[in-house]
Amino acid sequence: MGFAALYPSYALEPVTVEETDHYRVMREFCADPASFVEAAIEE
């Protein structure tokens, strides 16, 4: 049984830096650090 069959929700796919969550989070943060953090940690 292959990896994709074992883990149907996980796969490897090409992506650009700009499409990653890491980059999006960083960009949002850089635009306004204080507001970003306040909004992000609100529980």
Partner: protein
């Protein structure tokens, strides 16, 4: 019968001040006492529950944190009071202990609970905790915490969430090293809960602008001249990240050109 430590009804910060006692230094030319920021009049006051230290590699942040941790009764390799899970008897670099011998601290009151977290020794500490609980399955609450069967970041977060609920002084050296940006936000939430509890003091060194931006923390930059207050936006870490976010490809092309 073991004494149970009770919660002391005073708010953090508990460690109020640290200062260097030059008369306790045997050799000024030897590391760590030759670190430029360790001038004779070096001192650091803690006026907030959360103190965050930033600075370039090599400025002595980690050594300074080790010194603070040893002064609090923790092993310089990481852990809590009484934990010595890392065999570093043959280690050549044991600088925090040396530095602590020349540091003095004032407390209100002295708190001995807490944890010294170092990314590099996390797995040794986590393995120790897993194994101890496997060896003694009958101890109350002795279910193996099983930190190591989780992904790196998940294990870190579970570990933090479990260890950082009680009153204490918590020292973190670069906790972001295993945390993705979204997990860093989870870590910020944990910091907020600790802050709101008013009985946790955090002293943290980080390279992560996201963690630096925790509101209501005292953010300090360590340079060869000492510690100075700084805003997130003034740090090199933030400036580099912002430049990168504006144009990832252009930034990297320019940065790696030799």
């Amino acid at each position: 019968m073991a004494r149970r430590s009770r919660t002391i009804n005073l708010p953090a910060p508990y460690r109020r001040r640290i200062w260097l006692e030059p008369s306790r230094i045997a050799n000024r030319a030897a590391y760590p006492f030759c670190l430029p920021f360790l001038q004779d009049d070096f001192e650091l006051s803690f006026d907030r529950s959360i103190t965050i230290i930033v600075g370039e590699n090599g400025t002595g942040k980690s050594t300074f944190l080790e010194g603070i941790a040893v002064l609090a009764g923790y092993d310089e390799a990481g852990g809590g009071k009484g934990y010595m899970p890392v065999d570093h008897s043959k280690a050549l670099e044991k600088m925090g202990g040396q530095l602590s011998s020349a540091l003095r601290a004032s407390w209100l009151p002295k708190i001995t609970n807490g944890w010294f977290f170092r990314a590099e020794s996390f797995f040794s500490v986590a393995r120790y905790l897993d194994e101890v609980n496997l060896e003694f399955p009958d101890v109350p609450g002795g279910t193996p915490p099983d930190f190591l069967s989780h992904s790196h970041g998940e294990g870190f977060l579970r570990f933090f969430q479990e260890r950082c609920q009680k009153q204490g002084i918590f020292i973190f050296d670069e906790p972001e090293s295993a945390l993705s940006p979204s997990r860093q936000i989870e870590f910020l939430k944990l910091m907020r809960r600790m802050d709101n509890s008013q009985n946790c003091q955090i002293i943290m060194a980080t390279h992560s602008p996201v963690l630096m931006a925790y509101p209501n923390a005292r953010l300090l930059r360590l340079t060869k001249y000492g510690l100075e207050p700084v805003t997130v936006e003034q740090t090199d870490h933030y400036k580099v990240m912002r430049e990168f976010c504006d144009d990832p490809a252009g930034f990297v092309e320019a940065a790696i050109e030799e």
